[in-house]
């Protein structure tokens, strides 16, 4: 019975193909479906929502490619790894999407990546910076840089621009993101000729950093690199200030959150962190960044665009570009075209996908001055 039905299905399929030749794949009829899996609820909802806003904005600007409508299929991965895998499975098996955008958060991206790899469907990550997301993956790409790049950029900025030669590291030793960034920073800073005087640790959930900070005050580094999340980062800033620390503190993109100022209060003064190279008030804005800022404000007059929105926007355009060059909405053709992306003009600069499927772009530097987040400059790591 089972054999017979499948034979029948095969015959039908062959018939269909012959009937509609020369276009044969199902992906070549009707609208082109692009899946989106992002955390729209749960603890990462903040970033996921902004990235979705960016994707929607780009879709509104460019609703058609190859003379076919583009349809977005949005699935919430609920900030949960299991849900993330299910979301990608649904997009591939039920919606037969041509390509997928997502996700915010490296662990969510990795959970989805395994499924996409089996389903042979290309995925473009938005802000998942862990190297493992695309490592060894044929179908995963991203529009952001990776942590080693970011860590060395931080070291380059501190050493070259600020002329600081003595650094220390304070990191959450139970968090992969922090451990990775800290060691990349350390390696680059030493390579540049700087000295790393201490590498102090804490565990996730710790709220008292006074002992580590007192030790750091004794060692008198010029700068302390702390790749923390914004909540604990704000506590570290406050305690450092209370103890009278004179060194500067520097974080990474996980500190890039409007709540950093709210939680840190006066202690954020002089704090720096790395981020992606876009800001609504950045100096020397490129034409693409200006255009993005304008269309964003037209669509959301009361909300400032941020880098997550820009990344979502970029992910959509990257896929559209690949579809145009491939001349088809076939998953394999898009994947091949994505890998060859070169010099695509975007609000985050010229986007080139490298051999490890990451986007190479300069790293933005933020500093807090008079309680304001100021986009200072961009650095490329050495």
């Amino acid at each position: 019975m089972k054999v017979r039905t499948s034979l029948l299905a095969l015959l039908c399929a062959v018939g269909l193909c012959l009937g509609t030749a020369p276009v044969c794949s199902a992906a070549d009829q009707g609208p082109i479906k692009i899946g989106v899996f992002l955390p729209l609820t749960g603890q990462n909802a903040f970033g996921g929502q902004l990235e979705l806003d960016g994707v929607r904005l780009a879709h509104k600007e460019m609703p058609k490619v190859l003379d076919r409508e583009v349809e977005l299929v949005v699935v919430d991965n609920k900030s949960d790894k299991v849900e993330s895998g299910n979301a990608v499975k649904r997009l591939i098996e039920r919606d037969h999407v041509s390509a997928i955008i997502g996700s915010y958060g490296s662990s969510l991206a990795m959970a989805g990546g395994e499924v996409a790899e089996k389903g042979k469907t290309p995925v473009v990550g938005t802000s998942c910076t862990n190297p493992l997301v695309t490592m060894g993956k044929k179908y995963y790409f991203r529009v952001c840089y990776i942590d080693p790049w970011q860590g060395s950029a931080a070291a380059t900025y501190v050493f070259d621009n600020l002329k600081m030669k003595k650094a220390a590291v304070l990191m959450d030793m139970t968090n992969d993101y922090a451990v990775g960034l800290a060691s990349f920073f350390e390696r680059s800073f030493k390579k540049l000729g700087g000295e790393v005087v201490a590498k102090l640790k804490y565990s996730s959930g710790d709220q008292d950093f006074t002992a580590q900070l007192t030790e750091l005050i004794r060692l008198q580094p010029d700068v302390v690199f702390m790749p923390a999340y914004f909540a604990e980062g704000a506590i570290i800033m406050k305690q450092a200030r209370e103890l009278g620390a004179k060194f500067r503190l520097m974080g990474a993109d996980a500190m890039d959150n409007p709540d950093t100022v709210k939680l840190g209060g006066k202690a954020v003064e002089g704090f720096m962190h790395t981020t992606f190279p876009y800001d609504a008030k950045m100096p020397n804005m490129s034409a693409e960044a200006k255009k993005f800022t304008e269309v964003w404000y037209k669509a959301n007059p009361n909300k400032d665009p941020n880098v997550n929105a820009a990344l979502g926007y970029n992910a959509y355009y990257l896929i559209m570009d690949a579809i145009k060059r491939a001349g088809s909405a076939d998953q394999q053709a898009i994947t091949n075209a994505l890998a060859k992306t070169k010099g695509l003009a975007t609000p985050l600069g010229e986007l080139t996908i490298n051999a490890t499927h990451d986007a190479e772009m300069p790293v933005g530097i933020i500093e807090y001055r008079n309680g304001q987040r100021v986009y200072l400059t961009e650095v490329s790591p050495k």
Binding site: A211, I235, G265
Partner: protein, 297 residues
């Protein structure tokens, strides 16, 4: 290490230790009376801190008023938890009550995520508490002095309730023999509810202090302090209020000094804390001040 640095570490340790002590006395009191480890203690601490957050930010009350409302609100929550989760299990084996306590803990945390969202929020710190004294290069927050004073006042108040009042007498009687106490005409259920009210008020008070020192509230903020305070209570001898204070201070000093003297091992501060716990339990299984008697208050 210079002497100055050493003193700075001492003050840091004293602040942390007295916070642990403050949380631990609530733990130990409920245990002393009911022989129940109230795992929801840390979560009531969290709720207390949230009440202050909402009082100051949403309603614009002064900090002091919010703190009093928070303590009262947490007491009510404690009574409610006792009524719903522990009273029906009074006759059940002790392990059932323990499991119920764990369930309550998870329930309150998850509820807090739904109601308050997981986003950490900043807490208002009254200026007179966060300004600092400067002695040479040593910096001491006024809070550092305030927390131990607060702990001492609350311990004194607690000891007064236990040894000088009628409900206190009934609480001590319950800790010895619940059935006999009932036969003496004491309304045992009411007294136990009162115990929870006091315990939760202490939890809220410590939560408020904790949020002053580490000025953020989020739904999981109570877990780590709760766990550490539990260790402090066991080190000091669970059931003993004075022991909880000593245990808390010891724990604070061990954690800070382990980093001060072994900065390379700074990631292992919790390991140091738990090694102390193991050592105490090996050499004095009842804790430092725990007596191997029936009465444990």
């Amino acid at each position: 290490m210079s002497l100055e640095m050493f003193f700075q570490h001492c003050f840091n340790a004293l602040t942390l230790g007295s916070l642990y002590a403050l949380i631990a006395i609530g733990y130990t009191m409920v245990y002393g009376v009911l022989r129940l480890i109230n795992f929801a203690h840390g979560d009531i601490l969290m709720v207390g801190a949230y009440f202050v957050f909402f009082g100051t930010f949403a309603f614009g009350w002064p900090w002091g008023v919010s703190a009093i409302v928070a303590v009262a609100g947490a007491s009510l929550l404690g009574v409610l938890v006792e009524r719903v989760a522990y009273r029906p299990l009074r006759e059940a084996p002790r392990i059932s009550a323990l499991i119920s306590a764990i369930a309550v803990s998870f329930f309150i945390e998850s509820l807090a995520v739904v109601v308050f969202t997981g986003q950490p929020r900043p807490v208002l710190q009254p200026d007179w508490l966060i300004s600092e004294w400067q002695l040479g290069n040593i910096r001491v927050l006024k809070l550092t002095a305030f927390v131990p004073v607060m702990t001492a006042v609350l311990v004194a108040g607690l000891l007064y309730i236990l040894y000088r009042t009628k409900p206190g007498l009934a609480m001590r009687a319950i800790s010895k023999d619940i059935e006999t106490t009932r036969l003496m005409g004491v309304r045992v259920d009411n007294i136990i509810a009162f115990t929870f009210a006091v315990g939760s008020a202490l939890a809220a008070a410590s939560g408020i202090m904790w949020a002053l020192r580490y000025p953020q509230v989020h739904p999981y903020m109570g877990i780590m302090p709760g766990l550490k305070a539990f260790v402090a209570a066991v080190v000091g001898g669970i059931g003993s209020v004075q022991g909880a204070v000593i245990g808390g201070v010891i724990l604070g000093f061990v954690e800070i000094m382990s980093i001060a003297f072994f900065p390379e091992l700074s990631g292992y501060r919790d390991a140091f804390a738990f090694i102390i716990l193991v050592l105490v339990l090996v050499f004095k299984p009842t804790g430092l001040l725990g007596e191997d008697l029936k009465e444990k208050i």
